[in-house]
């Protein structure tokens, strides 16, 4: 199978998809270069750039420490101790993934305006992103071979020494990969920080764009942000590729014994409860609180009618479906190519699609705005352009699942079908598609959830008059109309959590993890 040359049609489709993905990158670089050296250096050598860099890097460093510590500690508790109710705690530990970060941000901001500073930003990213560390570390803990721990004890190590010299080193790849994802998410997040009025590169780019400055400033800031993202993604790529220790042993897997907590059981139960109150209790609690308030109770009275909420929900669903359809249409040829063919061209096309992972949503959206305003005027503020932006944003996400699904349909099974007298089309219909269908469905569902909870691109590209749940929450929260935003936030939270629950039930918790791979 792998030896067969890809057909011209397949190659053309793949090239088109990867060109589309690389287009925003090209436009951004072009705009930055067009500014010229003098303008660029004048714009970049300003205190503002240093301030943004410091703000962003400090927040990244802080988030790496908090999510690393909390994610690892929680993973240890739920995987390797006799913590009561571990099953429930481990579900609650990943649940924040189903709440979009800007909803979390909305909840905290509406709780106290005192959070509009570094501390508040760190709090929000910690509660929203720590599952990105928890999940891989918990998975790594499950993979640990108990024979290693026994051997270490036989060699005279006590428990503390064992943790530092044996367990932590084995967790290192998972932990590093997790905190790098957190860093990348901190870099690309826009909505959560904008609501907190915390200034990072993304909010500054948005501000520059709104202020109507020349295309040069947002483009130049975007280039710096892109460099930071690419650095993170590259580091993550190396950590993931190189440091997979893997088990040396094969054979039946024994479960590692649980360490007894003893007197710590009660305090740690309380700590888990308190943490869940912060991560899930506050976001959902604040939405419920504001739902119960009359629309004019908030600072700025904007009533949300049932019709408006239903309309916004419909827009979100409609855009989600359209986005998922286009994304899948682009991801399928690339997935087939990657799963079934080899060669430098295949690798280049696939890598280019993954490169989009490192392009923040705000950069993609701005590039598309600038492109259509200057060159493709009729497309500006059209629904089509918005759907294209979603496809560019979420193609890497879909591609991972599509590729995995297609790889599952092994060539040997297809060959068996052929040898039983089925033609190529019949094999596709009766063997390959049924095998890949659940995975493809999961990919489409992931893109759907991601689109419906997407804020940045929607905000910049939505046609005039199109209101989605996300843009409504944004608009109302920006004017401090928290009660007015609550119905939209409630609908979005329920949709996102229900979809995540269905996905996780069917494909495991790791599938929601995918929704928050950097996009």
């Amino acid at each position: 199978m792998a030896a067969r040359r890809p057909s011209a049609g397949l190659l053309a489709a793949c090239c088109a998809a990867s060109c589309l993905v690389l287009l925003p990158l090209g436009v951004t670089l072009w705009n930055a270069a067009a500014a010229g050296w003098d303008v660029a250096s004048a714009l970049l050598w300003r205190p503002l750039t240093g301030f943004l860099l410091l703000n962003t890097l400090l927040l990244m460093a802080g988030a790496v420490i908090t999510t690393g510590l909390i994610g690892t500690a929680l993973a240890w508790l739920t995987e390797r101790t006799d913590l009561r109710g571990k099953r429930v705690w481990s579900i609650l530990a990943v649940a924040p993934l189903a709440i979009p970060p800007f909803i979390t941000s909305y909840a905290w901001v509406s709780l106290s305006p005192a959070l509009e500073n570094f501390g508040g930003a760190l709090l929000v990213v910690t509660v929203a992103y720590y599952p990105l560390v928890y999940l891989p570390v918990a998975a790594a803990l499950r993979e640990l071979d108990p024979a290693l721990e026994e051997t270490a004890r036989a060699l005279g190590l006590n428990r503390a020494a064992m943790f530092w010299r044996l367990i932590l080193p084995q967790l290192r790849p998972a932990l590093l990969g997790g905190v790098l994802l957190v860093s990348l998410d901190v870099l690309v997040e826009f909505g959560a920080f904008a609501l907190l009025r915390f200034r990072t590169f993304t909010t500054a780019i948005y501000g520059a764009y709104r202020a109507g400055f020349s295309g040069a400033e947002p483009a130049l800031l975007s280039v710096i942000l892109l460099l930071l993202c690419i650095a993170c993604l590259t580091a993550e790529f190396f950590v993931r590729g190189r440091a997979r220790y893997g088990r040396l042993a094969r054979g039946a897997r024994r479960r590692a014994p649980d360490y007894p907590l003893g007197n710590w059981q009660v305090p740690l139960q309380a700590a888990c409860g308190a943490w869940t109150a912060l991560t899930i209790g506050v976001p959902l609690g604040m939405i419920l609180y504001w739902l119960a308030q009359p629309g004019d109770a908030a600072t700025a009275p904007v009533a949300a009618s049932f019709g408006a909420v239903a309309g916004a929900a419909w827009s979100s669903v409609y855009l989600g479906a359209a986005g998922a359809a286009l994304t899948m249409a682009l991801a399928l040829p690339l997935g087939i190519l990657a799963a079934r063919h080899r060669g430098w061209m295949v690798t280049a096309l696939e890598r280019s699609a993954y490169l989009a992972q490192s392009i923040p949503g705000i950069v993609i959206a701005l590039a598309l705005v600038s492109l259509t305003v200057h060159a493709l005027r009729p497309l500006y503020e059209s629904t089509l352009l918005l759907v294209v932006a979603y496809a560019v944003l979420f193609l890497p996400l879909a591609l991972v699942s599509v590729r995995a699904a297609l790889t599952q349909a092994q060539p040997a099974l297809e060959e068996a079908g052929r040898s039983l007298g089925l033609g190529r089309a019949a094999v596709l219909l009766r063997v390959s598609l049924p095998l890949a269908a659940p995975g493809l469905g999961a990919a489409a569902a992931l893109v759907f959830i991601s689109v419906t909870t997407e804020l940045t691109a929607t905000l910049l590209l939505a046609p005039i008059g199109t209101q989605t749940l996300a843009t409504q929450i944004w608009a109302d929260t920006s004017t401090l109309a928290f009660a007015a935003a609550a119905p939209y936030a409630a609908v979005m939270a329920v949709m996102s959590m229900a979809a995540s629950w269905l996905l996780a039930g069917r494909f495991g918790a790791a599938s929601i993890f995918a929704t928050r791979q950097p996009a």
């Binding site: 051997t151 036989a154 005279g156 044996l166 080193p169 084995q170 893997g246 088990r247 054979g251």
Partner: protein, 352 residues
């Protein structure tokens, strides 16, 4: 006071399932004791109790006179100074070979790569392996490094949990030899559990058989094989031919003639155990041979198991002989059988 290991009345159940039901034995210092058992016989549990990974329900474990376990009162594994080689080596995947070997040593010795060169030499491994990752080693080499790591802190006892079972046949023999030689050279007391008879019999200075949580017999390998305590044990240890017979005064009469018996105490109606390699086959008539007909041949390469039918009074009996494969009798041919050496009988003991 014994410098070796003393195990007395060791009992362990997992839930309602008894795994060990009172196991006692001693392993002399400097020797290799093999514990043989089928899967589920409790052999791995025995090893894990000695290592300290499990707590016994009852019974004692002493090493060089020190009490390691007395019922549920146990010393934790890290204070026992017992080396442990797990089934598949369990090398630490994040450390290179040298760091694996020195893992159990104090920091200064770890820095100085204390004994790494010496142990690599002892296990017959090239010196440049020190910087390799365990992933780059073959299964047999990993097992040798695991033993080097266990030996590095100079343990009083080394436990080996089926260390060769994951290796393929050729590698297994070679690794086995290297490990046995290294243990001898280090003068280490060792306990090996295995389900492989050949392994236990070829490596050990004494071997025991664990059956259903009880130690059925423990003795030097030769004695274990030639004079097993029961027919079941005889079957477990290798190919066996059983015939009814009548014993008296050091001889037994059976279908294969009048044979010498190792145990002169047994008399009366007995079951006779003949090992297939004891049976000699002649294609020409012999006065002292027993006539038989070839029934079938199971060919193994260097040797073969040949099945014969012979008349025993009115009945026809099957016996099996192990022959070198270059001199096999023709199928269906007439042969004469003769038994070499003493046989073992199972039956009532005491004065006739």
């Amino acid at each position: 006071m014994s410098q070796g290991l003393e195990v007395t009345g060791l009992t362990k159940s997992f839930g309602a399932t008894p795994v060990l039901r009172g196991v006692s034995f001693s392993a002399p210092q400097g020797g290799l004791t093999a514990i043989l058992g089928a899967s589920g016989s409790g052999k791995t549990t025995l090893l894990r109790l000695i290592a300290g990974f499990e707590t016994p329900d009852a019974g004692q474990i002493r090493l060089a006179g020190a009490r390691l376990a007395d019922g549920a009162k146990i010393q934790p594994p890290e204070r026992r100074a017992i080396g442990y080689v797990a089934q598949e080596g369990a090398l630490f995947p994040h450390l290179n070979v040298a760091d694996n070997i020195t893992f159990g040593l104090p920091r200064a010795q770890r820095r100085a790569r204390h004994r790494v060169a010496e142990l690599l030499r002892l296990l017959d491994l090239p010196q440049n392996f020190a910087d390799r990752a365990p992933q780059d080693l073959s299964g047999g080499q990993q097992q040798r490094v695991a033993l080097a790591r266990a030996l590095a802190p100079n343990p009083k006892l080394v436990l080996l949990d089926e260390p060769f079972s994951a290796l393929d046949a050729g590698l297994r023999a070679e690794t086995r030899q290297a490990v046995a030689a290294a243990l001898r050279a280090a003068g280490a007391t060792a306990i090996l559990v295995t389900h492989d008879q050949e392994e236990a019999l070829s490596m050990a200075s004494q071997a025991g058989v664990l059956q259903a949580g009880l130690l059925a017999q423990i003795s030097p390998p030769e004695r274990l094989y030639r004079q097993p305590a029961s027919p079941a044990l005889a079957n477990f240890l290798g190919e066996a031919v059983f015939l009814p017979g009548t014993a008296a005064a050091g001889r037994v009469d059976c279908a294969l003639g009048a044979l010498a018996v190792a145990d002169r105490q047994v008399h009366g109606d007995v079951e006779v155990l003949v090992r297939p390699e004891q049976i000699k086959v002649f294609t020409e008539f012999r006065e002292d041979g027993v006539a038989a007909r070839v029934r079938g041949v199971q060919f193994f390469g260097h040797d073969a198991l040949v099945r014969f039918a012979l008349r025993d009074g009115g009945a026809e009996r099957d016996v099996t002989a192990r022959l070198f494969s270059h001199k096999l009798p023709p199928p269906d041919g007439q042969v004469w059988l003769q038994v070499e050496g003493e046989v073992t009988v199972f039956g009532p003991r005491g004065k006739p």
